[in-house]
């Protein structure tokens, strides 16, 4: 079945603005906090997001610094302080921060905690 041009356009739009991750995040927040007035709560979340984008301030997503450290430690089972490139790619995919551009080059260096944190934060800002 060929997907029509409009469908492809729509899929590309979703991808470009990371709508799926955004909607997933909003729904998770709603179900977790279960506010009395869901609409008002959603509006407040979106306003905060908007301001965060404009001012460049880091937005308190579910992922914050301690979570990043925890994720890194989970992957680094031997406690060497580094993770392999494959693990790094997989972690980014799980967080929904992996883009298809393939700008991650396996430059032979292993990834340390600081580099991991830096990448995650950089990508978060791009959303």
């Amino acid at each position: 079945m060929e997907t029509s041009n409009r469908e492809l356009q729509a899929a590309e739009y979703l991808e470009r603005h990371r709508i799926k991750e955004l909607v997933s995040y909003l729904t998770s927040a709603l179900l977790f906090f279960r506010p009395e007035k869901p609409r008002e709560y959603l509006i407040s979340l979106l306003e905060r997001l908007r301001i965060a984008k404009v001012t460049g301030v880091a937005f308190p997503f579910f992922m914050d610094n301690s979570n990043i450290v925890a994720m890194f430690e989970m992957m680094d089972s031997s406690g060497r302080g580094t993770i392999s490139f494959v693990q790094y790619k997989e972690a980014l995919k799980t967080l929904g921060l992996y883009t298809e551009d393939g700008d991650l080059k396996d430059d032979g260096h292993i990834i340390t905690l600081d580099k991991f944190k830096e990448e995650v934060n950089k990508r978060m800002k791009e959303i």
Partner: protein
């Protein structure tokens, strides 16, 4: 959280919250609007959309042949739902729009306007405040498939489409009696819908173009076009016969428009079946459990199982069984909680029957957090219940259950040795029924959104009614 990590232990408050607040539909609508308009900046667009809060506003299209009563129905629906009515006439007569002035000239010359212009007018009108806040009803638009497609490409989608239909002969007859009130624009009829006030009667005018020939021509045109418009609205269309009194057509249209369509929202049914003894609750529960893989929780059964297994609760319950007294509410709730808190009940959903018997038990259930999302009252008249219960027999040798009317035993030999359960004796049944009816009013008040089903039919019909009650969204209460 993705679907690869299993098992998910989702606290039951989450799906309950999601269902009550229709979170899925909310997100779905927002996503639809995003994809239709594809704004460059999605977040401000989403904020704007949420502020509008018009997901449930009426968006109706009414189509039908001439003289079917479209305009009458549209006007009545408008008044009832407090929405804006859009017809070709009032779009063109709009004084505030430049496009409307252009259209008016063409309309006065030829009585129709080109589709592109019409659709532009509609788009302008629908962007106005009152249509956004209170909804809109399109009367007689789109007439052709081309118009339907153009409207769709602009992202204007109705939620309900009503098509009136009646045989041509009836329509031609009816059109001859059409009269219009020039001041209000309302349409009356010499036979079916005559205005009561004499001053209106005096004002009424005969519209032009209602002769038989002209009506027949218009009907031909209509039939040619409607065949191609109907497939454009596959799931939201309803055909109502216009060959009935106005009021009937109106009520059918109103109920349809106020019902929601089935949604794709995830839904674990938590069904509560209430009804007097012998109304078929256990049977329906068994059928539901089998078809939808819900967990069948029968209160009486649970207690008997506890006693038979000699669990801690069973030891406590046993003395009540021996003395043939009702088990106290506190103990009952503990046994129920144990069952309903198990993982399979939370994940698959349950069908509960046998409780609550009265208001106290119902309040206890609520306070423990076991809120059913569908409640059914099975109504069976007293005589049917007596018939069903007093003729029940059991064969002591094979254990087979028979009913002297609905499932008689095959041979006389078996019939001779059948026994009756003492609980099925007439007085016992009457006692239990009285108990139920005494508590019925309170329970009905507590479960306001319950659905009443006529239980006096064959089991599969009742099952279908219950099924449709579970699958379709709960009807909105008319404020």
């Amino acid at each position: 959280m993705d679907s690869t990590t299993a098992p998910h232990r989702i606290p039951p408050e989450m799906p309950q919250y999601g269902e009550e607040n229709h979170i899925f539909e909310l997100m779905q609508n927002m996503l639809e609007q995003l994809l239709i308009h594809q704004p460059e900046d999605p977040i401000p667009f989403m904020i704007q959309h949420l502020h509008k809060d018009n997901d449930n506003v009426p968006r109706i299209v009414i189509l039908g042949p001439p003289a079917s009563g479209k305009t009458t129905i549209a006007m009545w629906l408008c008044k009832h739902l407090n929405s804006s009515l859009l017809t070709l006439e009032n779009l063109v007569l709009n004084e505030f729009s430049f496009t409307a002035t252009k259209a008016r000239r063409l309309y006065l010359q030829r009585k129709t306007i080109p589709s592109a212009l019409l659709v532009q007018l509609i788009q302008e009108r629908l962007a106005e405040e009152d249509c956004i806040k209170r909804g809109w009803i399109l009367d007689g638009i789109p007439e052709t498939r081309e118009q339907a497609l153009r409207i769709q490409t602009l992202g204007i989608t109705p939620r309900h489409v009503i098509v009136l239909s009646a045989p041509d002969t009836v329509l031609i007859e009816r059109n001859l009696g059409k009269r219009i009130d020039p001041q209000t624009g309302e349409i009356y009829h010499t036979t079916f819908d005559w205005p009561p006030e004499s001053e209106i009667q005096n004002r009424l005018m005969v519209p032009e173009d209602i002769s038989e020939l002209e009506t027949a021509q218009k009907l031909l045109e209509y039939h040619r076009n409607i065949v191609r418009v109907i497939p454009s609205y596959p799931k939201i269309l309803k055909v109502i016969s216009a060959d009935q009194p106005c009021v009937d057509v109106f009520y059918q249209a109103l109920t349809y428009v106020q019902s929601n369509h089935r949604t794709n929202a995830p839904f674990t049914p938590r069904v509560l079946l209430l009804g007097p003894v012998g109304s078929g609750k256990s049977l329906q529960a068994a059928l539901l459990a089998q078809k939808y893989r819900l967990v069948n929780v029968c209160c009486g059964q649970l207690l008997k199982e506890a006693v038979a297994d000699r669990t801690t609760f069973g030891e406590l319950v046993q003395p009540f069984f021996e003395k043939e007294m009702a088990v106290p509410d506190g103990l009952l709730m503990k046994v129920l909680s144990q069952r309903l808190d198990q993982q399979d009940c939370i994940q698959k959903g349950w069908v509960l029957h046998g409780v609550p018997r009265d208001l106290d038990q119902a309040h206890l259930l609520k306070s423990l957090g076991y809120n059913p999302n569908r409640v059914f009252f099975l109504n069976v008249p007293f005589d049917s219940i007596m018939e069903r219960l007093t003729l029940r027999r059991i064969d002591p040798v094979t254990g087979e259950r028979y009913h002297l009317m609905y499932k008689p035993p095959p041979t006389m030999e078996i019939q001779a040795r059948l026994l009756q359960n003492p609980k099925d004796a007439e007085e016992q049944v009457k006692l239990k029924m009285d108990l139920f009816y005494r508590n019925l009013a309170d329970l009905e008040q507590l479960y306001g959104s319950a659905i009443t089903v006529n239980g006096d039919q064959d089991p599969y019909t009742v099952f279908e009614y219950i099924e449709s009650g579970i699958i379709n969204p709960l009807p909105k209460k008319i404020p």
